[in-house]
């Protein structure tokens, strides 16, 4: 095997675990074998093949798989699983939220009778839909204390971010070709910036400290005479850190630079006032606030006026900034969702804080765990915790009964570690072992209790498999180990 300077016992165990697989990176190897051990189907499939081949060994084989089952089954310890359902608990509220039934109730009439085109101004079908759209627009604007005329409906926060960044940059770019953003932004902001760089714009990516917050002095120093836009997200999607939006807004206003903020995760969840916070442009998403997917809104300030070059040209709907027929069911669903987040704000907030505290307190009581991001400037509905000596992906595999994510949904297909945690100064191992818990309006206390229990058990299980963890227990400093080349 490829490890040296490890105690004999752990080497033996490690070799037993990884019998058939050739030399791969030892960490990755350990992770995959642990995940495989939890997969019931592979054990069963193996058993059935051997059953056909060797009838005599049948009894032996089932005995072995039974023994395996006893070893890797987590649930039976404290309850009878046959009396419970099978569908996983949903704890990934940063990716998306379920549509509130009250929102669906608002949307359904648009699929049954209210089918007029809201832009048809010549007949009653158009008028009635248009009236509903304007009501929704007001509801969306009220959450952030904006004027309804400042709300532009788009297809979602990604389109908002693209419109805001590219629109402002292209309109003012001839005189002001400089943009400031941060390293922890969402991918769609970073990617838009990359495209603008290709077009000849200059982009400054501000670093963040270990808490995930940007340095306001550095921001002020970075603003130049030719800066046209500052874009900072209000609540981070991976670690839930709240940036000091009000201070950033003040600095931007002082230097007469437009301030865009990506509020997909913040809208309706933390108090936002566009006038008090001097926000010029703001991206909002509907499906993060229990509304339907496929709709979002861009706030564009009217006074002092922010001018944009539209991405989509056409019939001149939405003040000419986003042409195309609006989708009344989605818009009105979004409006209802916005009304509900305002109405239920106190109750939801209280509920989320209670569950979030319970979850983070219990999980941080496990040894070698770490809370990622600032604890004070933090949205409680997003808890990001690292479990050292456990591979995040293998923990997710072991947690089939809980829907969780190790980071943004956009990057969860790739196994690369989170760039947000990297920006915070976390090393690869820590970034790999982090898990994000999203708590929302519909999360219950029973679910949180279940998740705490499940995580505690399975972190312990995976660590018991890990030779690294055993070495840590023996007091060996992992950084002093010399690894043989593979």
């Amino acid at each position: 095997m490829s490890l040296i300077t490890i105690s004999d016992t752990s080497l033996m165990r490690f070799a037993q675990l990884t019998r058939s697989v050739a030399a791969v990176s030892s960490r990755r190897l350990f992770a995959t074998s642990a995940a495989r051990a939890t997969s019931q189907t592979s054990v069963n499939r193996m058993a059935s093949v051997q059953q056909q081949q060797q009838q005599q060994q049948q009894q032996l084989q089932t005995d072995e798989s039974k023994a395996n089952e006893g070893h890797i089954s987590f649930k039976n310890a404290y309850r009878d699983d046959s009396k419970f359902g099978k569908r996983p608990i949903y704890l990934d509220m940063q990716a998306t939220t379920p549509v509130d039934p009250r929102v669906l109730d608002k949307m359904l009439p648009f699929f049954t009778g209210l089918y007029g085109n809201p832009h048809s101004s010549t007949h009653a079908y158009g008028w009635e839909t248009d009236k509903e759209i304007e009501k929704a627009r007001k509801n969306v604007a009220d959450v952030i204390n904006a004027d309804p005329r400042e709300i532009i409906f788009t297809s979602g926060a990604t389109e908002c971010n693209n419109t805001a960044l590219k629109g402002v940059a292209r309109f003012y770019g001839k005189r002001k070709p400089h943009i400031i953003t941060t390293q922890t932004e969402h991918k769609c902001v970073l990617d838009s910036c990359r495209h603008l760089q290709d077009e000849g714009f200059e982009v400054t990516y501000l670093p963040v400290d270990t808490d995930g917050l940007i340095d306001l002095e550095l921001l002020e120093k970075s603003i130049r005479k030719d800066t046209c836009l500052v874009s900072v997200m209000a609540v981070n999607n991976e670690i839930g850190v709240e940036q000091p939006i009000e201070e950033i807004g003040r600095i931007c206003r002082k230097h007469k630079v437009f301030f865009h903020t990506d509020c997909a995760q913040a809208y309706g969840k933390i108090p936002i006032d566009v006038n008090k916070m001097n926000i010029d442009l703001m991206s909002i998403s509907s499906h993060k606030v229990y509304g339907p997917m496929g709709i979002g809104a861009l706030y564009v300030r009217r006074r002092p006026r922010v001018r944009l070059e539209p991405l989509i040209n056409g019939g001149g709907q939405e003040r000419g900034l986003r042409s195309g027929t609006l989708a009344p069911p989605l818009v009105c669903g979004f409006g209802e969702a916005a009304r509900l987040v305002r109405e239920e704000y106190d109750a939801d907030h209280e509920h989320i804080v209670k569950l979030s505290n319970k979850l983070s307190d219990s999980l941080l009581s496990i040894p070698y765990t770490q809370f990622n991001g600032s604890k004070e400037h933090h949205f409680p509905g997003c808890v990001n915790i690292s479990f050292s000596y456990v591979e995040g992906e293998s923990l997710l595999m072991a947690l089939k009964d809980v829907a969780l994510s190790s980071g943004s949904a956009c990057t969860s297909a790739s196994l690369e570690p989170s760039y947000v945690l990297h920006a915070l100064g976390a090393d690869d191992a820590l970034a790999h072992s982090s898990i994000r818990f999203g708590i929302g309006r519909f999360t219950t206390e029973a679910e949180i209790d279940y998740v705490i229990n499940a995580i505690k058990e399975r972190v312990q299980f995976l660590r018991d498999l890990s030779p690294l963890y055993e070495m840590v227990q023996q007091g060996i400093d992992l950084s002093t180990i010399q690894w043989a080349g593979h």
Partner: protein
């Protein structure tokens, strides 16, 4: 005209029943929690507006719980398969003893 105590109780019972009809665990638990919370705050002098709003909410809950039943999913891992409507009675008892 403010709603009578009896009317409020009947509304409460109906809201609890409709909330219970939700097939989907998280919605069911949420609306039950919300009902308990809202009806605790129902004691004001003039509750006409709250009562009328409650009637509207009841309509929404009845429609949506029915839709929820039309598209059922597996039960969640925290849900007992043999769960019954045991909570309505208990909740009502609790509310009447409070008043």
């Amino acid at each position: 005209m403010p709603a009578s105590r009896q009317q409020v109780l009947r509304l409460y019972r109906n809201v609890l029943r409709a909330s219970h009809e939700f097939e989907y665990y998280n919605f069911r638990e949420y609306f039950l929690r919300k009902a308990r919370r809202d009806f605790r705050a129902f004691k004001g002098e003039d509750n006409t507006e709250a009562y009328n709003d409650g009637l509207k909410q009841l309509g929404i809950l009845r429609r949506q719980s029915m839709i929820s039943q039309m598209y059922p999913f597996d039960k969640l891992v925290v849900e007992r398969l043999d769960e019954r409507h045991h909570e309505i009675g208990a909740a009502l008892d609790a509310s009447t003893s409070h008043n």
